[in-house]
């Protein structure tokens, strides 16, 4: 039976997976909590704590090691927060049911980049003017290959629009949309897998933060759920943050795609049941 101790232990696993894949973790934790008898709306509301804790816990390592790119994150946060605010506002007027299918379809496009993301990273040969003007590039030392990987972003405005969509989905569906963000970063912005996952982790906390007041006013925030979730996901995320750079891109991508398949099934199921 679920209690504060078992929830804390479960949250450690969720925080660990979330930190390695760039997803917030709430999309894994919320269905499990619902299955274990926690009211769904309460689980969703409290899930934002898991997202913020995963983000801050893992980003403390990713930012220090310069795997997550602060400039790229700041640029993309403009779009994702705007999307989240618009999404949270229009969800009152528009049924989000079709967004589930759109979200599932978009996640399927992440498989288009499967071959590239598992292979060695090759930076785009050209860089658009806006990306160059915003200095959206960087480098990090990959501990798995023992090489310094230099990268640069391309298609920043299309990427920004993708992030607007991710924020919209987050605001309308009450999710962190981390998998959505990772897909945009890899397939549109052409960022290396590790930089995509870690920069997504850095951003998801901000997207979740944009929904805090909505959840506060809902009266669904249960401290005995949130406290063990916060402790567990933070511990898991800090642990994940310390090992990500030692793992190969291949291992991380396999883990990511397993989660993406799970999310696609979850989104289609939610869409069908909401019709």
């Amino acid at each position: 039976m679920l209690n504060m101790l078992s929830l804390g232990l479960l949250s450690i696993v969720v925080g660990f997976i979330g930190s390695l894949t760039g997803i917030g973790g709430a999309s894994i934790l919320v269905p499990i909590l619902a299955l274990l008898g926690v009211p769904l709306k309460e689980a969703i509301a409290c899930g934002m704590v898991a997202i913020i804790a995963t983000s801050s816990g893992s980003a403390s390592s990713y930012v220090r090691e310069r795997i997550a790119n602060v400039r790229i994150a700041m640029f993309l946060e403009m779009f994702t927060i705007t999307g989240a605010i618009v999404g949270a506002t229009i969800t009152l007027y528009i049924a989000p049911v079709f967004l589930y299918f759109f979200f599932a379809a978009f996640l399927m496009t992440s498989f288009l980049g499967l071959k590239r993301s598992i292979a060695e990273y090759v930076p785009p040969s050209t860089q658009d003017r806006v990306s160059r003007w915003l200095q959206l590039d960087g480098s990090y030392f990959d501990e798995a290959t023992k090489e310094t990987v230099d990268y640069r972003v391309n298609n920043s405005l299309f990427g920004g629009l993708g992030m607007l969509g991710a924020g919209l989905a987050a605001g309308m569906l009450g999710i962190g949309a981390g998998a959505f963000k990772v897909t945009v970063m890899e397939n549109i912005l052409r960022m290396p897998p590790k930089v995509s996952s870690t920069t997504s982790n850095f951003i998801i906390g901000m997207t979740a933060l944009a929904g805090v007041s909505v959840y506060l006013s809902s009266g669904l925030l249960n401290l005995t759920l949130m406290a063990p979730m916060a402790v567990g996901t933070t511990i898991g995320a800090v642990a994940g943050g310390r090992i990500l750079n030692k793992l190969s891109n291949r291992t991380l991508r396999i883990l990511f795609y397993v989660i993406v398949v799970y999310l696609i099934v979850q989104m289609i199921y939610k869409g069908i049941t909401a019709l």
Partner: protein, 129 residues
């Protein structure tokens, strides 16, 4: 493998953000653990509770902090858990403020604008309910 890099990597900002995040998560986790222990000791149970005293409801995040600091809370365990939650939520907000100061110090106009935009949007979202 290699691309032509156009910028250095903001080492100072990254260190500062990293320290801020570490301080935030450690403080928050310690408060949450202390709160859980005290609540379990008082109630004699580690069960997830559905009592109204463990639920939070407020108009918005800033009002939440104001009321917490003004009125406090009778139960020490709940007070500690709430304090931990506030610090957890404040940590990413503070990192945006820290970034804004950093870019202002560096006189990086592009990123002063971007960070300021994020800060205003975030503040507005925290005022929404």
């Amino acid at each position: 493998m290699k691309a032509n890099r156009t910028t250095d990597n903001n080492g100072g900002l990254e260190k500062a953000i990293s320290y801020l995040l570490i301080i935030g998560v450690v403080l928050s986790v310690l408060l949450e653990i202390a709160g859980i222990i005290m609540l379990c000791r008082d109630s004699g149970s580690i069960a997830i509770q559905q009592d109204s005293s463990v639920f939070i409801q407020e108009h918005d995040f800033f009002r939440f902090i104001y009321d917490f600091l003004r009125t406090g809370n009778g139960n020490a365990g709940i007070w500690l858990m709430t304090a931990g939650l506030i610090i957890l939520i404040l940590t990413p907000f503070l990192r945006v403020i820290l970034s804004a100061f950093y870019f202002a110090f560096k006189k990086d106009r592009k990123y002063i604008f971007i960070t300021f935009f994020v800060l205003v949007a975030l503040t507005l979202s925290l005022l929404l309910h």
